[in-house]
């Protein structure tokens, strides 16, 4: 009972006052420069969206699983190599690349560079301009479109030409193996990747636009390599047209 009056003094009751810990600080309020809020409550709008996507995806999977069976080949046999022996589709692009250069270059160096590029990307292109807009600008969209077309043509040409006139075979005896296996493929790929960058650089493109070109070359090349490895490689990992595969080999069975 003794300390009751003191309590009253420090925390007076019923004065109608409220207290908060506040501090003045430099900086913008979250709403500076923003228009009126056009927001909706997550409950239930976002949740309904999510349920809709969940149902859509599950239904699509459900019906696909009814008509297409997952493959099960003969039991694994280390003595009998399948022909062709293909990696899963998402690595078959790398396997295609292996046909054209030294395995360390195709299997380790190039994927390593790609992962490093992806990780470094936001720290190289850090301007906040045009974030949240598809392709940033009209020009960005055009750059993406043209580099995609260019990369598809260039990579297809590289695969087809190197398959027809193998650098490995042409230079056998004429130059050391590392020229055909390391130097030339690196130079050709560097040329394919850097040509659009050089063109854009000369036109005074922004970092973002150069990144769009680089990313598009990477994505389009990966698509071309994957399609080539998946659909156009038959027994012996030789190149065939998908509808002319020998020995009744059907690439889709490997899915």
């Amino acid at each position: 009972m003794n300390d009751a009056p003191m309590n009253e003094e420090i925390f007076p009751k019923g004065t109608g006052k409220s207290y908060a810990l506040v501090e003045m600080m430099r900086g913008e309020s979250p709403m500076v420069g923003k228009g009126p809020e056009k927001t909706v409550f997550s409950f239930p709008v976002v949740l309904l969206w999510e349920i809709l996507i969940l149902l859509g995806v599950t239904l699509a999977l459900f019906f696909f699983s009814l008509v297409k069976q997952a493959p099960l080949d003969a039991i694994a046999n280390p003595q009998v190599t399948t022909d062709p022996a293909k990696a899963p589709w998402y690595f078959v692009g790398l396997q295609e690349l292996l046909e054209h250069m030294h395995p360390t270059l195709a299997g380790i160096v190039i994927p390593g560079i790609l992962v490093l590029f992806l990780v470094a990307l936001p720290y190289l292109d850090y301007s906040r301009e045009h974030a949240g807009v598809w392709f940033s600008t009209r020009r960005g969209k055009r750059i993406a479109g043209w580099t995609a077309l260019y990369a598809v043509v260039a990579m297809t040409a590289f695969i087809v030409l190197d398959n027809a006139f193998s650098m490995r075979e042409l230079l056998r005896g004429a130059a050391p193996a590392w020229v055909a296996q390391w130097l030339l493929p690196s130079l050709i790929l560097a040329l394919i990747v850097l040509l659009p960058v050089a063109v854009l650089w000369r036109k005074g493109a922004s970092v973002r636009e150069i990144m769009i070109a680089l990313f598009t070359v990477m994505l389009a090349s990966a698509v071309v390599l994957t399609i080539s490895g998946f659909l156009f490689r038959g027994p012996g990992f030789e190149m065939y047209l998908p509808w002319q595969m020998p020995d009744g080999y059907n690439p889709w069975n490997d899915f």
Binding site: G33, K34, G35, E37, K38, T39, F41, S42, F43, V45, V46, L47, W49, E50, I53, L54, V57, L61, S65, L66, K68, Q69, A70, P71, L72, D73, A74, I75, A76, P78, V80, T82, A85, K86, A87, P88, Y90, F91, L94, Q95, L98, P103, T104, G107, I108, L121, P122, Y123, D125, Y126, H130, A131, G132, V133, W134, A144, F215, L219, D254, F255
Partner: protein
């Protein structure tokens, strides 16, 4: 939203109120509390901008990837009840799942197609985030987490590829592991760590199995949570940063 009497009696009951610490979500306060007081919802913001709901901005790819992951966990657990990760029994149990387990073939189909679908959707999601410039500050690190998630997804799919222990999986993993073996200096060691020996065998199977059903799914669930949480902490989707004039 007028509630019927029995419903009100239920939501007013002591038990209901011990579970849901908010009122019926028909007003702003209770709609906020629904999101913040629920562990499954609290990764969402309470309110979202109409811009981030535009279908042609995201195509729902991130949510699709999460949904596919959930389907994979669910069907994967069902398959685990029957599958035995041993060289002698893996293939026979696969046959058993397909031939005698009720809905076994169907469950396996769902698992396989969801796995392929997840790899594809995750790649498309990355392309979407890139082309909308959503990796720019303050979202740089969430992009990096996304890259790690892509690699984990590939790893989860690749380790699962071996488990049927048929010719298709055996030689695909042999080809894949050989690529790892080409790394300079560390290559052969990396290959051996991956395979648990010099060639694909029992040691590989148990390694891939453990990675596939424990380490990789746990890492994925952890990083997906961080990924989603950071989306909210970084101010929602990048579309919200676009001035309204556009």
């Amino acid at each position: 939203m007028a509630q019927s009497k029995p419903l009100t009696r239920l939501t007013d009951s002591r038990v209901w109120r011990s579970v849901f610490r908010h009122g019926w979500p028909d007003n702003p306060l209770d709609r906020s509390l629904t999101m913040t007081s629920n562990i499954f919802f609290h990764l969402h913001p309470v309110k979202v901008s109409h811009k981030s709901l535009r279908w042609t901005y995201t195509f729902g790819l991130g949510i699709m990837a999460t949904v596919l992951y959930s389907v994979l966990v669910f069907t994967g657990i069902l398959l685990m009840f029957y599958y035995v990760p041993s060289v002698e029994r893996a293939y026979p149990t696969m046959k058993e799942i397909q031939l005698s387990v009720p809905l076994g073939q169907f469950t396996r189909n769902m698992h396989r197609w969801a796995a392929h679908g997840m790899v594809l959707v995750v790649i498309l999601h990355m392309a979407r985030v890139f082309y909308t410039g959503a990796y720019k500050p303050p979202r740089e690190f969430n992009w990096v987490i996304g890259v790690v998630l892509l690699l984990l997804t590939l790893g989860a799919s690749f380790t699962g590829y071996l488990l049927p222990w048929d010719q298709l999986s055996y030689w695909a993993i042999t080809v894949g592991a050989n690529i790892a073996g080409y790394a300079p200096v560390a290559g052969p060691v990396m290959r051996e760590i991956l395979l648990g020996g010099t060639e694909v065998g029992q040691d590989t199977l148990i390694r891939f199995y453990t990675l596939h059903i424990a380490l990789l799914p746990l890492s994925l669930v952890l990083l997906i949570s961080v990924h989603l949480w950071r989306v909210r902490k970084d101010g929602g989707l990048a579309a919200n940063d676009v001035p309204d004039a556009e």
